[in-house]
Amino acid sequence: MKARAFDYMRPKCVQEALEAFVSADGDASYIAGGQSLVPALALRLQAPGLLIDIARLDELRGLSLAGGHLRIGATTRHCEILGSNLVREHAPLLAKAAPFVAHPAIRNKGTFGGSLALADPASEFPAMALALDAIIEIASVEGSRRVGAGDFFIDLYETALQPGEIVTAVYVPLATAKTRTAFDELARRRGDYAIVGAGIDAQMQGGFVERMRIAFLSVGSTPVRVRAVEAALTGRQLTPEAIRQAQDVLGTELDPVGDEHTPPEMRRHLARVLLGRLLGRLEASR
């Protein structure tokens, strides 16, 4: 199918984009990479009267260090995350997750901010934003505000974004010498949506876990932090016994969804397997 007819505009700044949305009485969509929006338009799941193209706004671009955080401009493309030395050094978990995001051609166009704004629970970056406790910067005609990733993902494709708001940047706390990270996912084919995936961001000292955040993707209507598992591991060494116990805690904490291919029990089992693998190699890798 083809998209319904719409008007198109390319504003010169974020403020102009925000005002255009208001002027259209909300019958508008912002487009940046468009890798999820364009199919939705083609399938007529969405049919806005106006497309506001924010892909070229300088304010939304770039990777830089800013006050203890890595600032990721919202329109930073997945391929830029994948190729960035700044990301590898300061947000290694994102560098590890990036090769799993869709296919190369999608990564050449899709944007980091767009992925978070869409909040697909099967996507890698929303879950990693949660694991990294990232801060999401949001602009509206009223001004700018910041929301922690923990408060950003509300339900299926539902975020803290209000109609007309734009994600402008994402701030990720910088990795330290104590940082240890791991990411992996299980999928039927590479590039497919994961049956289950997870990322871990931890601070470790002398073999002991000082702090750990674990976020799963593809297990529910939002990316999911497993706080009971995190608590069970905090202060401990990642011995085989500790890992086994963490897997048991996960089995009771996680309440995964089922679909036509994967019943909830299978997904829970695979999540346990995945957690075991990630914890087993966590200490070895920054």
Binding site: A5, A42, A105, K109, G191
Partner: protein
């Protein structure tokens, strides 16, 4: 509402000025407005990879962007890559081992392969398969396609080493 928009873009090195409806995808623009039908439209939702083109020298789905978004950009299609002989060796290797049957996916496969080889690295088979994960072929089973790309990568490396020596 929905009037046409003036765009100017380079397609295969030639500047094209056109009026397009905003809802026209780049794939439809290339095929229907300027008759470059080497870019194929299969799923039209970013899954099959038959419509890949180079946008500012990176493979992208021409079905996943509107022509208006390409205003001011450089687009290269399978025709452009062929005419400037950027993929002669790839095409020869595809041809030699019959790395296609119906050929519908081949333009997308070649654009993907161009992207894989453009980095200058020599990818292994897993890397090639990974990079082709967004290209569907329903005829070949992929083996011969991976063979062709792997062989071309090796030949290019050998060629570069010979030039250095």
């Amino acid at each position: 509402m929905s009037g046409k928009v003036a765009i100017s873009l380079a397609v295969n090195g030639e500047t094209i000025e056109a009026l397009v409806a905003p809802r026209t995808t780049l794939a439809d623009f290339l095929r229907q407005d300027i008759q470059l039908t080497g870019t194929h439209t299969g799923c039209e939702m970013g899954v099959c990879g038959a419509c890949l083109v180079l946008l500012d020298d990176r493979p992208v789905h021409a079905c996943l962007m509107f022509a208006v978004q390409a205003d001011g950009c450089a687009v290269e299609t399978i025709e452009g890559l062929t005419h400037r002989r950027a993929i002669d060796d790839l095409q020869k290797e595809f041809h030699e081992r019959n790395a296609l049957q119906c050929g519908f996916c081949t333009p997308g496969m070649l654009v993907s392969a161009y992207g894989i080889l453009a980095s200058g690295d020599e990818p292994d088979r897993d890397g090639i398969r990974d990079a082709l994960s967004g290209n569907y072929c329903r005829c070949t089973g992929y083996e011969s396609i991976v063979d062709a790309i792997e062989t071309t990568a090796r030949q290019r490396r050998q060629h570069m080493e010979e030039e250095k020596a």
